[in-house]
């Protein structure tokens, strides 16, 4: 049975960077960031493409975000997605996961979907919430932290990672939503001809009207949300920092290991 798969991808600032807080304290400074595809979403994309290769069907890569996210969608096309679509909600910060999930869910309703995949969490905000929220909103059965997916006879059997190395295996019918864990597979590299081809492929834009909204602020949510402020995390406790040249640091480290009795001599 072929599968129509929608894989939700997020473009995030490279989390290895250092971040500065914007003057108004409500966002980080975004003028000198570089962006990348969220880590867990790479595995969700790969899982989507593999399922399509095995069972047939189509993969639509879906995102929500500003124009810059198109670069990430082209990467997804080069790695095997058949189509790409962007919900053009262009708040660069988009802190409200409830709003993001509601807009993405509305977009998914406009696309054929036997299976919706997301990454388990985004490395920028770490909510681990978009997939579950969408499942609830779309009334889809779901499973989270998925490390293994099997599809046969119209049913999915998936392994969900719990703490301490335990895995809970569950079965669910399609249509369904799965959030995919880091390391679930080995993501592929895009071949050069596919990159060239992807650079010319059209990317569908989904504006508010396509979702039945008069504007992005017209979305009904059962709450109001705000960022009161961002700050550097307080240095609570914190390490005693050993400074100096590498040789000096090494001397101190070795002395400490001896003094604490971790090495004899």
């Amino acid at each position: 049975m072929p599968l129509n798969i929608v894989v939700c991808l997020k473009q995030i600032p490279n989390p290895d960077l250092q971040f500065q807080i914007a003057a108004d304290g409500k966002d980080i400074r975004r003028d000198a960031l570089n962006y990348k595809l969220n880590g867990a979403d790479e595995y969700a994309l790969e899982e989507a493409v593999r399922l399509k290769e095995t069972h047939g069907g189509r993969v639509v890569a879906l995102t929500l975000g500003p124009k810059r996210a198109e670069q990430m969608l082209r990467e997804a096309l080069a790695k095997g997605a058949d189509e790409a679509a962007r919900v053009t909600y262009d708040d660069p910060a988009a802190f409200d996961v409830g709003k993001n999930a509601r807009l993405l869910a509305a977009a998914v309703r406009t696309l054929p979907h036997d299976l919706v995949l997301t990454g388990v969490q985004s490395d920028d905000y770490g909510n681990s919430a978009t997939g579950g929220l969408m499942a609830g909103l779309l009334k889809l059965p779901h499973a989270s932290v998925v490390t293994r997916v099997a599809f046969a006879g119209g049913r999915l059997e998936v392994a969900c990672e719990l703490e301490g190395g335990l895995q809970r295996v569950v079965a669910l019918p399609t249509p369904a939503l799965l959030s995919i864990q880091f390391g679930a597979n080995t993501p592929r590299y895009a071949p050069l001809p596919a990159i060239m081809k992807a650079s010319r492929q059209p990317i569908k834009e989904i504006g508010p009207a396509a979702l039945g909204l008069t504007g992005w602020d017209a979305l009904a949510v059962p709450y109001s949300f705000g960022i009161r402020g961002l700050s550097p995390p307080g240095a609570k406790g914190g390490a005693e920092m050993i400074t100096g040249s590498v040789e000096e640091q090494a001397k101190r480290f070795a002395t400490m290991l001896r003094e604490k009795g971790f090495v004899r001599r």
Partner: protein
């Protein structure tokens, strides 16, 4: 309303943290904290929880014998509609973030996840979160007259201790339609036989992405050997199969409490820190001075681990 997490007859440690946080929120806002236990044949577990200074609601149904997101959402829907809690408090664990967002989506409720601290005033919840690889703290505010679903990061609150006596256990009526449950439990899989049991080691030298190449593991091995330790790893390394899964320290791997933990090129994401923060002595080596690992480490070196370890080995041999 706190939602208890339990597996195979045992309460998750995070649940006791939820009780403490829930009681504090309730005290500060003039309400009451209650804990909801969902399951089948879990009276004993419910009674046990009533010893932690909180009244227990027991939702017993054969369809809840094993956790499924579907079953829990259906069961909690009825309880929420009859009790109208201000806050629905869930642990930010693998099960918690499977359940809480789906509940919020299905019932159209506000949601804040992975919180470190909470304050409630009227219909306004202020939550402290960490974002961007733990490098930025965010204070977010949610106002709503609907129950707010909140997940609390494990380890952010001290667990509740037991009280003098037992509080009440009250059964809540449930109307679950088993035919509407779509997710079915198949089996539990346990980790394979371990090569080394990290959880018993006195000295652990763990490697993260900062070691850059698989070949550099040899250096970590050599250093671990020199100080009588074993090699552990952060998640990215075991995901890339540089080391077996049994070596992974963190929330989804091993929880360790060695006498010495050396974190080599590990940034200190929550997932890793959850598994090693209770080590007696934590030494962190990282090139990024803002890496969150330095917050929980006792001794920190801003250095390239590929340079510092060889230099330290040389010192140890001299």
């Amino acid at each position: 309303m706190i939602v208890a997490e339990h597996l195979e007859g045992r309460v998750a440690p995070s649940t006791l943290e939820l009780i403490a946080a829930g009681r504090e929120l309730a005290d500060a806002s003039g309400g009451e904290a209650r804990i909801l236990v969902l399951g089948h044949a879990v009276e004993e577990l419910a009674r046990h929880l009533s010893g932690y200074m909180v009244n227990v609601l027991l939702a017993d149904h054969p369809a809840l014998a094993q956790y499924t997101g579907d079953g829990y959402v259906q069961a909690v829907r009825g309880v929420v509609e009859s009790m109208h809690p201000r806050i629905i408090l869930v642990a930010h664990t693998a099960q918690g973030y499977d359940f809480a967002p789906a509940l919020a989506g299905a019932l159209d409720l506000p949601l804040v996840t992975n919180c470190l601290a909470l304050q409630l005033a009227g219909n306004r919840l202020v939550a402290l979160r960490r974002i961007l690889n733990e490098k930025v703290q965010a204070e977010v505010e949610v106002r709503s007259d609907r129950p707010i679903v909140v997940t609390l990061r494990p380890g952010s609150t001290k667990p509740q201790g037991t009280g003098r006596g037992m509080m009440s256990v009250t059964a809540v009526p449930l109307s679950i339609d088993p035919s509407a449950l779509r997710v079915t439990f198949v089996r539990m899989e346990r980790p394979e036989v371990q090569d080394i049991d990290l959880s018993g080691a006195d000295i652990i030298v763990s490697a993260g992405r900062g070691i850059q190449k698989k070949e550099n593991l040899a250096l970590i091995e050599e250093f671990a050997k020199a100080i009588g330790g074993v090699v552990g790893a952060s998640r990215p390394l075991t995901d890339m199969d540089w080391l077996p899964k049994s070596r992974q320290v963190g929330q989804s791997g091993k929880t360790v409490r060695p006498k010495l933990y050396v974190a080599c090129g590990i940034s200190g994401a929550m997932q890793h820190v959850a598994g090693m923060k209770d080590a007696n002595l934590i030494v962190a080596i990282n090139t990024d001075p803002t890496a969150p690992i330095f917050e929980i480490a006792h001794i920190g070196f801003v250095a390239d681990v590929l340079k510092l370890l060889p230099a330290t080995l040389k010192e140890l041999k001299s």
